[in-house]
């Protein structure tokens, strides 16, 4: 808005010429005065006021001449504007288009422009200065006359300075321009387009506020483009092909710039901006823009015919994996990285009606502790003396988008726009551009993600030590499967790596039909076991020594773990008193909280919380009672989960049974305590050992945040209304997370509180208050900004498929808890259909779409992921297609997965690796390229002469083609290569090829360490084992589910039905 306002006020004045004609100072005046006007966007805007002074300087220098000419120009500007408007009259309604265009333009050009004004102050020399310098030069000779007028208008305030100075003389051009002051016409458009564009401005560069003033003006017609624009404009009325007379440096600008006008439809396609940028001539740009309006798929089917008329190869497939939204980041470079926060669309709708037309979920997916690559760690800020600086009213933490005013004594909160005082310790003067002089030294002002060290006010109790408590089932099945041994070994090997070294606490309980406590006091040499058999009235013997400090009692703990497997070797107890054991664990841990790891092998059968065998009654499936099987049977579990959270205990459940264990009930414990579920159906230590070891080790050693709470704040007018994931709500918007780590993500949905948003930008701030393993209380803050738009097309353009699908998944899984699977699937499909239909309606007016199916570029994978979601373990088929436990476990897991991993799970990688293995000298590069060559997930991709690797983030499936050369199989599998593969364990053999394959698998595993990929071997045509792969080939039509082509056809038909 900043821009718009400044422009506006100036404008009215213009006709009169007086303001302009006046000496430079006045000139500036209007400008500076304008900023205040924008009232609505105060925070962002403020800076502008400051800058004027600075802006002036350049002006003044060039001053004398410029002013004189100024009068001449004035008329000009309007005319230029009017042209564009005239040209695309049809576009008017959707005028948003120019805005986006403008925005792109800004986005890119900004850096450069900004510099221009800054030139004098010499601020960040980083960006575009170079380009800028050149353009003027180029211009001078060629286009001076043209230049003048156009540039002038918009650029008045700032962009001009440099140019003005140089060109002032040529100003004579003025006369050329027929000063048809048709401003009235253009104006309206102008305004309209602005709102959309504006957001980017203020936010785009909050840090560099001063720039804005100049900025805005440029937007309409940045000076450089002006040169070109002139010709294009002139031509415009006649036809839209802009004249290609362009100085090369400018072209770039033009690309962004011209586009909006030439393309009537609003779809300038931000994502593509970079390309436009580089695109050479305007004409090509225009074409490009037109083509990229939306993507379409021609579906020329004859209804009823067998041939669907769709080339299945042409359908979009996310073979490059997840594409992070980049435009968002370019627009707001100060936003936190998208690995922490992803919005389903980075253009927030400004009205209820827009939301209701959007049809997809509107919200965010937050992964507060996402793993960062080396070198990008979140910086830690310690305000030792002044305390953490937050807004008085809305409690927002200080962030890059706040603006400082009053010479640095006050700051304006970007979320509630309240003026706060800057504490004395934190004061720093502002430089000429309204930026704090210590800007670079303060990460909280320069980065979207920071971590504050919290003082004592943020603690209700002293920070707890990291605490690990193990609840281990030692009944007969646990002994037989070898689970106890693997667990004991793994824990023992991780003892040294547990986080928070000197303070870490540890404790154990084992149980079968009785509960065994272990006293591991450091003074003992042997752990002491105490058995409690009274399950109805649990008490804790020795309340103090059951939890011990690891560093003090390490030897005792080690002895215990060494002897644990042998202790229960001969146990024949089949009962499991899980409920009472859980209660006992709660009692032991309630003082401190911590992480509770539950190893459960059978269905709980004794004491409270005993569960029945459900789900073997086939008649229940498909009736209204079916969803109840996916919810906890006994309220005891929900109650326990609530109590665990209350005492800051996070539970992770490891389930191993080959029979029904009621994950739906037991998993509740993890769901409401921010934990996760690991499910190893039919665990056998021979085959699952590595997987369990890896995952348990990761669970124990990864960086964990303890006793955390998370809140996400957002600007006035919008509100987060529902939250989805594994956590418990402690109040309407506070998520209680007893333990969080990098593998957990949370999703939330937004709603508008007011019918109309008046601000141009909304801000989101995620704050996670937690205790780090080192015992420090910290607050991790992620801040992001997003523009508010009035145009539905823009929302679609800025959509983020990954986040949308993530929310879809969570909503669908929640739906399965109260509805049939079928309903959940239909709901997903319906929403996709509605969204695409809305999108189609948006375009069908201007374009003859015929039988084509159209979808926004940003959502091209949406239908496919939707299909994959419907085929995922949690949602697919009916009861026969996945066991209850598997389904529940998958559901719980998917509720917590971060976006990237979820997408990989939904649409796994399929790679052909035999060529790589056969290559005699395979370099690392070959491995890279093999890993990148992903294939569509369909039977057609599988060549019977090949060896394929299927990787969904949780398991590998090696598929051996029937005609695969025996040499490969022999090398990989040893002598039993011809045997039944279900009985062959995959391991490294003594051959070059085998080593190479293992190295490749290892590499993939390392790139995605949160889960261990268990390797399955499958031979072509080997039923029923091959089904595990076939079920995952999403694109194919398998047993009653539709394939990709059918799915697209279905969607397309439904879209057209009521279009």
């Amino acid at each position: 808005m900043g821009t718009e306002n400044p422009g506006r006020p100036a404008y009215p004045g213009r006709p009169a010429t007086t303001p302009f004609g006046a000496p430079p100072p006045p000139n500036v005046r209007p400008f500076s005065s304008t900023p205040p006007i924008p009232g609505s966007g105060p925070s962002t805007f403020r800076p502008t006021t400051a800058p004027p002074s600075q802006a002036n300087t350049p002006f003044a220098s060039s001053g004398p001449m410029a002013e004189t000419e100024a009068p001449g120009f004035q008329p000009r500007p309007p005319s230029t504007f009017s042209n564009p408007s005239a040209a695309p009259p049809p576009a008017l309604p959707s005028y948003g288009s120019p805005a986006p265009g403008a925005r792109n333009f800004q986005r890119f050009s900004t850096p450069q422009f900004t510099q221009a004004p800054q030139g004098p102050p010499a601020r960040p020399p980083t960006m575009g200065q170079a380009p800028f310098g050149t353009p003027p030069a180029a211009l001078v000779p060629g286009a001076p006359p043209a230049f003048r007028p156009t540039a002038n208008v918009p650029a008045v305030p700032m962009g001009l300075p440099p140019q003005r100075a140089t060109y002032a003389p040529p100003g004579g051009s003025v006369p050329q321009l027929p000063s048809e002051s048709v401003p009235s016409v253009p104006r309206p458009n102008f305004q309209q387009s602005y709102p959309a564009a504006d957001p980017s401005v203020p936010t785009g560069r909050p840090t560099v506020p001063p720039l804005f003033p100049g900025y805005p003006n440029q937007r309409p017609h940045a000076p450089p483009p002006a040169t070109l624009s002139q010709s294009p404009f002139a031509a415009r009325p006649a036809g839209d092909v802009p004249a290609p007379v362009v100085a090369s440096p400018f072209q770039t600008h033009q690309g962004g710039y011209v586009q909006p006008h030439t393309v009537p439809a609003p779809f300038g396609m931000p994502p593509r901006d970079p390309m436009q940028h580089s695109a050479s001539g305007p004409p090509s740009n225009a074409m490009y823009g037109l083509m990229e309006d939306f993507n379409s798929l021609s579906i020329g089917s004859v209804p009823g015919s067998l041939d669907p008329g769709v080339d299945s190869k042409a359908l979009p497939r996310p073979l490059d994996g997840d594409v992070e939204p980049t435009s968002f980041r370019e627009m707001f470079p100060l936003n936190c990285h998208s690995r922490y926060l992803r919005l389903t669309t980075s253009a927030i709708p400004n009205s209820q009606s827009l939301i209701s037309r959007w049809h997809l979920p509107l919200g965010a997916v937050v992964c507060p502790l996402a793993e960062v690559p080396e070198g990008e760690e979140v910086s830690i800020v310690n305000f030792a003396s002044s305390g953490i600086i937050r807004c008085r009213r809305c409690r927002t933490y200080i962030n890059p988008y706040v603006t400082f005013t009053d010479a640095g004594r006050k700051w304006r909160c970007n979320i509630c726009s309240l003026l706060n005082d800057v504490p004395g310790d934190y004061y720093a003067p502002l430089d000429a551009m309204g930026k704090r002089v210590d800007f670079d030294q303060r990460p909280e002002l320069a980065k979207g993600s920071v971590e504050f060290v919290a003082p004592t006010e943020y603690m209700v109790r002293p920070p707890m030590p990291p605490l690990y408590f193990f609840l281990i089932d030692v009944s007969v099945s646990a002994v037989r499967s070898g689970m106890i041994e693997v667990v004991a070994q793994t824990i023992r090997s991780c003892l040294d790596d547990l986080p928070g070294f000197p303070r870490t606490q540890i404790g154990f309980i084992t149980y079968d039909s009785t509960i065994h406590f272990y006293n591991m006091k450091s003074s003992l040499t042997q752990p002491q076991m105490m058995v409690v058999s009274d399950l109805d009235d649990i008490f804790v013997p020795l309340p103090d020594d059951l939890l011990v400090n690891l560093s003090e009692s390490k030897t005792v703990v080690e002895t215990f773990l060494d002897s644990l497997p042998s202790m229960f070797q001969d146990n024949v107890n089949v009962e499991s008193a899980f409920g009472p054991a859980l209660k006992a664990a709660l009692m032991v841990m309630s003082q401190l909280g911590g992480k509770l790891l539950i190893f459960q092998n059978t269905l709980p059968s004794l004491g409270v919380g005993r569960l029945k065998l459900r789900g073997d009654d086939v008649r229940v499936y498909g009736t209204d009672k079916e969803p109840a099987l996916r919810t906890p049977e006994d309220p005891f579990y929900k109650q326990m989960a609530a109590d665990l959270t209350k005492y800051q205990i996070g539970a992770n459940v490891y389930a191993f049974s080959d029979r029904y264990t009621d994950i739906a009930s037991i998993g509740t414990l993890a769901k409401y305590t921010g934990g996760q579920i690991y499910y190893y159906p039919a665990f056998q230590s021979a085959s699952h050992k590595e997987k369990l070891r890896h995952e348990l080790a990761r669970d124990l050693t990864r960086e964990t945040a303890w006793e955390a709470v998370m809140r996400i704040r957002c600007g006035k007018g919008i509100r987060f209304t529902s939250y989805h994931g594994n956590f418990m709500l402690r109040s309407t918007d506070l998520l209680a997370l007893p333990s969080v780590d990098c593998d957990k993500a949370y999703a939330m949905q937004l709603s508008l509180e007011e019918t109309l948003l008046t601000t141009q930008t909304v801000y989101f701030q995620v704050a996670l208050l937690y205790t780090a393993s080192c015992g420090e209380r910290r607050i991790r803050v992620h801040t992001a900004a997003a523009p508010v738009v009035t145009d539905l097309g823009e929302m679609y353009r800025q959509a983020d498929t990954g986040a949308v699908i993530s929310l879809f998944t969570r909503l669908a899984i929640e739906k399965t808890l109260s509805h049939k699977l079928e309903d959940a699937r239909t709901a997903v499909q319906q929403r996709i259909v509605k969204a695409l239909r809305e999108y189609r309606n948006l375009h069908s007016v201007q374009h003859r779409l015929g039988g084509r199916m159209i979808y926004p570029e940003s959502l091209k994978y949406l239908p496919l992921y939707g299909l994959a979601l419907c085929k995922s373990t949690a949602l697919r088929g009916s009861y026969a297609d996945a066991s209850l436990d598997e389904r529940s476990a998958a559901g719980f897991t998917m509720m917590a997965l971060p976006v990237k991993k979820l997408l990989k799970l939904l649409y796994p990688n399929l790679l052909r690796i035999d060529e790589y293995l056969l290559k005699p000298s395979a370099s690392a590069q070959d491995a890279e390229s093999t890993m990148k060559a992903r294939l569509p997930l369909t039977m057609d991709s599988l060549d019977s002469r090949g060896l394929y690797l299927f990787d969904d983030g949780f398991r590998f499936i090696l598929w051996f083609g029937r005609m695969l050369s025996p040499e490969i199989s022999q090398n990989l599998l040893g002598h039993d290569f011809a045997a039944d593969l279900s009985r062959v364990a995959f391991s490294e053999r003594d051959s070059e090829m085998s080593r190479k394959l293992c190295a490749l698998l290892q590499k993939i595993r390392e790139s995605d360490p949160s889960y261990y990929h268990l390797c399955h071997l499958v031979r072509q045509g080997e039923q029923p084992r091959e089904a595990i792969l076939i079920m995952s080939l999403v694109d194919d039509q398998i047993g009653g589910t539709s394939g990709y082509v059918d799915w697209i056809m279905q969607i397309h038909r439904q879209v057209q039905q009521n279009a």
Binding site: P635, K638, Q639, A642, M728, T732
Partner: protein, 113 residues
């Protein structure tokens, strides 16, 4: 009953749900007894009126959804409030009818005298 509103912000879900849950069983019992009482005293019209309410309660109880769930309390908040408001309206209606009948009865007696 009004606790639903109360816990908007001021009390935590644990307290509020335990307080709500404490009164739910007594409420169901009282309602049942009342219904039974109507039936026994021969006010079959009134008994009939309160039967749906009773049925609803019994149904909830059978489905084991009568108690407020701490973990889902925020998601259920809207529904719970609506449900309780309906119940309240229903009870008020019953109350008025009872008073009406009482007055009628009193008038009748009066007339007889």
């Amino acid at each position: 009953m009004c606790l639903a509103d109360l816990e908007f912000d001021y009390i935590n879900p644990y307290d509020s749900s335990s307080r709500i849950n404490r009164v739910i069983m007594p409420e169901f019992l009282v309602q049942g007894v009342l219904c039974f009482f109507y039936l026994v005293t021969g006010h079959w019209a009134m008994a009939l009126l309160s039967v749906p309410y009773l049925y609803y309660n019994v149904d909830l109880y059978m489905r084991r959804q009568h108690l407020v769930d701490v973990t889902e309390i925020y998601n259920m908040l809207k529904w719970e409030k609506k449900q309780r408001l309906f119940k309240l309206a229903y009870l008020i209606l019953l109350l008025f009818l009872t008073i009406f009948w009482m007055i009628m009865a009193a008038l009748d007696e009066h007339d007889h005298e």
